[in-house]
Amino acid sequence: MIYLQILVNGLVLGGLYACIAVGFSLVWGVLNVINILHGTFVVLGSYIAYFAYVRLGIHPYFSIALAGAVLFAVGYAIQAGLINRVIGAPVLTTLVLTFGLDLILNNATLVAFSADYRTVQLAHPLGSKVVGGIVLPLDRVVAMLLALALTGLLYLVLVRSRIGRAIVAVRMDAEAAALMGVNVKRVYAITFGLGALMAGAAGSLLSLIFPISPLASTEYLSLAFVVCVLGGLGSILGAMVGGLALGIIQSFGALLIGPQHGLTVSFGLLILLLIFRPTGLMGKRGYE
């Protein structure tokens, strides 16, 4: 029974992990940019949800839209105004650029909101439900389902919509896409915006679960790294599988080896995977 409970815990956690990582993965896959800003984007999403709830009484489930829209604008502006200028440059250049931008944005967040931890306390929490001896923390479960639904939605957008097809085309071959009349820089900006949107939406959902503070950004960022490499870079499906896998691995790791080694296990696994299967669990599939 305990294993089943741990599995459920892991799945619920993993769904959230997937949502944190998917935007990061998209940007990495399409733009070939490691976006160090991603963790701070998630934190900003959480703050938007927090203030929307405290000031306006909007439930975080619904402020996903608000946080997503704001972050999309922020992401679009950063890509169009700054990163696009050096987009063809080597890995290090864009990486150091987003690192510098993150120093600025995170420090600004710290100054604006202070490092004090805040939480969204629902007036009517859903509480927990016991189903067949398994405890289901309902708010977490709903947040996780929403997270997975959003991830699925992003997948649909990429596969079905015009802009989605353009993104996929640019990802496969930017030059060819340009020849076909795709405005590549604009696609880059939209992609980066979408990545930020997913981060904001994830942050909004996470505001129900984790204490909110600018300090949490590094944890979110390293999670995104791990999930992406686990599942496979730049693929939506990969992020989903990677997130769920990581959640389950961490839960069982903490159970079997002790909670102090939970993180070591996931990072160790990551190294092995990088060495032996750098394309991730899902390989090259699921790119579209």
């Binding site: 080597p90 690192f99 510098g100 931008l101 120093l103 944005l105 190294i271 990088l274």
Partner: protein, 315 residues
């Protein structure tokens, strides 16, 4: 041709710092020397070979812990430093064979994650490393001034060694091979270069002095904790320094280390709680306005026809 005299003069001038500086200036001097070690070491793998390595923190932290644990077990300080360098070098050798087949982002992430793994191990293996509580090193029974001078000169000696390593790399077939690998790894095999061998050698070169510097740092601050010696910034700073000075050059890393230290110190002093933001602005400005570093600027002025280097081309 390299002019030896000005270099010797500069090194001698820096080494004479204790004559006209107080302890705090010596502390900064030691910091500069340490930064120079990190930057010169990274330059071999990141600058010459063009591999975006984030493993500096791993080598540094490993060296710091190796040195601290050895000193704790009674190994004399200089031996502990040397052994820490060897430990990091051996680690880099093994690690190099494992991850140097990765390219671009994958390599960057793998090298970044290595430091994270080591940090987690150092944090959770409390019985051996002291865990999150950290490790205290034996206190030296010599005067403060003597300590300050000792660590300054030791670190400077290490920096000079790292510098000479760069000169050696640049002048020999080794450097030529690494440059070939950076420009086109597949083609390099055709001119008779074994890329794997050279890459691993470069990776080891980028580890050995960093490990020793880590151990020296541990003795210097006599307290280390995993979150400090393995922090991502330890990997990122040398990259920024090298980019600041000029990647793949022999003088760039040294200049970059100095400029970075000055910027960091001035910003840290002038802005109480927003210094990270100001540093971020400087880094961003650097990317846009000084993409080839200070040396690139100087070269452009002189209109010299030096091929532009850009690290990480292999991405």
């Amino acid at each position: 041709m390299i002019r030896t005299l000005p270099v010797l003069v500069v090194i001698a001038l820096i080494a004479a710092l204790p004559v006209f500086g107080d302890n705090y200036l010596l502390r900064l001097g030691t910091m500069f020397a340490m930064y120079a070690v990190l930057a010169y070491s990274w330059n071999v793998i990141g600058g010459f070979a063009g591999y975006p390595s984030f493993a500096t923190a791993a080598f540094f932290g490993l060296g710091a812990y190796a040195g601290a644990l050895m000193q704790g077990a009674g190994v004399p300080m200089p031996f502990a430093w040397a052994s820490a360098g060897i430990v990091s070098a051996v680690f880099a050798l093994l690690l190099g064979f494992a991850i140097l087949h990765l390219k671009g982002h994958y390599f960057a992430i793998a090298s970044l994650v290595i430091a994270q793994v080591l940090m987690e191990i150092a944090t959770s293996w409390s019985s051996f490393t002291g865990g999150g509580t950290g490790l205290n090193l034996p206190v030296l029974r010599i005067s403060i001034e003597a300590q300050a001078r000792l660590f300054f000169w030791s670190m400077l000696a290490l920096a000079v060694m790292a510098f000479l390593m760069n000169v050696a790399v640049a002048r020999t077939r080794f450097g030529f091979a690494l440059t070939c690998i950076r420009q086109n790894e597949d083609a390099s095999a055709m001119v008779g270069i074994n890329p794997t061998l050279y890459k691993v050698a470069a990776f080891v070169c980028s580890a050995v002095f960093v490990g020793a510097a880590g151990a020296m740092y541990a003795s210097w601050v006599f307290y280390i904790e995993p979150g400090d010696v393995f922090r991502v910034l330890v990997s990122v700073k040398p990259i920024v320094m090298v980019m600041l000075g000029g990647a793949g050059t022999v003088l760039g890393p040294g200049i970059g280390a100095l400029l970075f230290l000055v910027l960091e110190e001035v910003v840290w002093r002038s802005f109480l709680s927003v210094h990270a933001m100001v540093l971020g602005v400087i880094i961003v400005a650097l990317i846009f306005f000084l993409p080839r570093g200070v040396l690139g600027l100087v070269r452009r002025r002189k209109a010299a026809k030096v091929p532009a280097f850009s690290p990480g081309r292999s991405a």
